[in-house]
């Protein structure tokens, strides 16, 4: 108990976090932002040299939380004189709680919108989903979406509603597409009759990869049962007849629909003179909610905050017919925790200072 409540544990954990920040930042250069974040900060442990386990950021913060929370049970802490310290401890705990909520529940992705176009969904950076789209309805498309946890290698999905079984034969982080050099066996269907999907070394920036998946579908007609390949951005999807309805598939970044939409009016970028390096870029948008548009300018360091989402001006795409903006969209339920906890900790420190002040002045007089 003494060890758990010891302030030394807190101090050493802070030092360890500084070490993690250093190595995590350096590692970004080689393995990219996302991989580095997962390895050093979002993990409970990581291996050095492939065998030596060291505590990751999540374990360090958990230890810190336990240490800070258990120190509140020390009897010696609970006196009027230490009101300030108690408040600082509570503020610190609130900050860690906010971090936990952010780690567990926050989501992030991007919105890619060309000038004049409107979008109402965010594409996840990392997670993929498989959508079966029923085109046979009169005035709507019906999407049946299988989330990333179901699409792992070796998984089998028995979907009663369609009466089909989907076996995941391969799930590749990055693929390249090549024409077949010899005729495909009859089990390969659709796109895979003429092409093959081959694994490609993943780029360190996740968004630069083209994920692909190879599935075995059974429960369709004799002709359609077989192995299919689908990849991100596939222009001509394979089609299936399921219970008399015509479906096609999409393997895409996980999509979150928003209760509002964003229409890009104008995208502007200013380059550093004589270079191809952007100095600043901004998007003038209409935020449309309940058919009511509101003009907003999103620019670097001036994001749009709306309904729990924050939209940052992240990037742009050159070379298309129209100028296209890339907004990073973040939904963070723990967004306010750092502000509130910082204020609480400041108040605690101030109270502690004020309660100590008479004694300090007395000592100075002596």
């Amino acid at each position: 108990m003494k060890i758990i409540t010891s302030p030394k544990v807190f101090s050493y954990t802070v030092l360890w976090l500084i070490v993690l920040v250093f190595f995590g930042t350096v590692a970004q250069k080689d393995i990219g932002l996302y991989a580095s974040q997962v390895r050093y900060f979002s993990s409970y442990y990581f291996l050095i040299g492939g065998f030596l386990p060291l505590p990751g950021g999540r374990l360090a913060l958990l230890l810190m939380t336990v240490n800070l929370a258990s120190s509140l049970f020390k009897k010696s802490l609970w006196s009027i004189k230490k009101t300030g310290i108690i408040i600082v401890h509570l503020g610190g705990l609130l900050l860690l709680l906010g971090g936990g909520i952010t780690a567990q529940f926050s989501s992030e992705g991007n919105m890619v919108i060309a000038e004049g176009e409107t979008s109402d969904h965010v594409d996840d950076y990392f997670d993929m989903e498989l959508a079966f789209i029923n085109t046979s309805r009169k005035d709507s498309l019906e999407y049946t979406v299988f989330d990333a946890p179901l699409l792992q290698y070796g998984n089998s999905i028995n979907y009663q509603k369609f009466g089909i079984q989907i076996d995941v034969i391969s799930h590749m982080e990055n693929v390249r597409i090549e024409s077949r050099i010899s005729p495909a066996e009859s089990i390969y269907k659709g796109f895979l009759k003429d092409f093959v999907l081959l694994p490609e070394h993943p780029d360190k920036e996740v968004t630069q990869n083209r994920p692909g998946i190879i599935l075995k579908l059974s429960g369709l007609s004799e002709e359609e049962n077989g192995i299919y390949g689908i990849f991100l951005g596939q222009r001509t999807p394979d089609t299936f007849d399921i219970n008399g309805d015509l479906f096609f598939t999409e393997f895409r970044r996980k999509r979150t629909y928003l209760p509002f939409s964003i229409n890009l009016l104008d995208f502007e970028k200013v380059m550093h003179p004589g270079t191809n390096v952007a100095k600043s870029f901004s998007s003038e948008i209409n935020l449309i909610e309940d058919s009511v548009p509101r003009r907003v300018l999103i620019q670097m360091n001036e994001p749009l905050r709306h309904r729990g989402y924050t939209f940052f001006q992240a990037s742009f795409i050159d070379g298309l017919d129209k100028e296209t903006t890339v907004l990073a969209a973040v939904k963070n339920y723990g967004r306010l925790f750092p502000y509130v906890s910082s204020i609480i900790m400041c108040i605690g420190l101030l109270i502690h200072l004020l309660t100590r002040l008479p004694k300090m002045l007395e000592r100075q007089k002596q």
């Binding site: 085109t135 989330d147 179901l150 001509t236």
Partner: protein, 170 residues
């Protein structure tokens, strides 16, 4: 195995309208006529065409340029049969029966759902050939047509397919 037991948690179903009438936010008026939009292949150049056309493109190939047009009309606009027979007439072929046209139609899927695709070639005259797509929506029909010679048709076909697949309604 455990995941499979809990699979329903990871499966979602929802519907989105095929034709969305969106509010024109710039003019603050409701646009009652859905706008047909598309992604143009990089090599194609938009050119001035007949006033009935939504757009016309010049699609280059090794021997010249193909003419691509996109038009839309309310309702079924005569249906598939009369239009295909009209195009057959344009390349010097006689009309054929509805069942022959149905057999000739290739069903494809684009962003708007299923559409009919026709490759019309006159075996005796390689100088004229037509690729056409007919996208029948609830209240209107969209026609996309490429007129070229046989060589142009073969060279432009991949871009034409992509173009047809990219069409959607805003």
């Amino acid at each position: 195995m455990l995941l499979s037991c809990d699979a329903d948690r990871y499966i979602r179903t929802y519907r989105l309208p095929k034709n969305v009438i969106i509010k024109d936010v710039n003019t603050d008026k409701i646009s009652q006529v859905p706008r047909v939009v598309w992604e143009k292949p990089r090599d194609w150049k938009e050119v001035t065409g007949h006033s009935m056309r939504l757009a016309s493109f010049s699609a280059p190939f090794s021997e010249g340029n193909g003419d691509v047009s996109i038009t839309t009309f309310a309702g079924k606009s005569g249906g598939i049969g009369p239009n295909v027979n009209r195009w057959l007439g344009q390349i010097g072929l006689g009309p054929i029966s509805d069942s022959a046209i149905e057999a000739m139609a290739i069903k494809k899927i684009g962003r708007l759902g299923e559409y009919s695709y026709f490759k019309l070639i006159n075996d005796k005259d390689a100088g004229q050939a037509i690729l056409a797509s007919i996208l029948q929506l609830e209240e209107r029909t969209v026609f996309v047509k490429l007129s070229s010679n046989l060589k142009g048709l073969k060279e432009i076909e991949p871009d034409f397919n992509q173009f047809c697949n990219s069409i959607y309604i805003k």
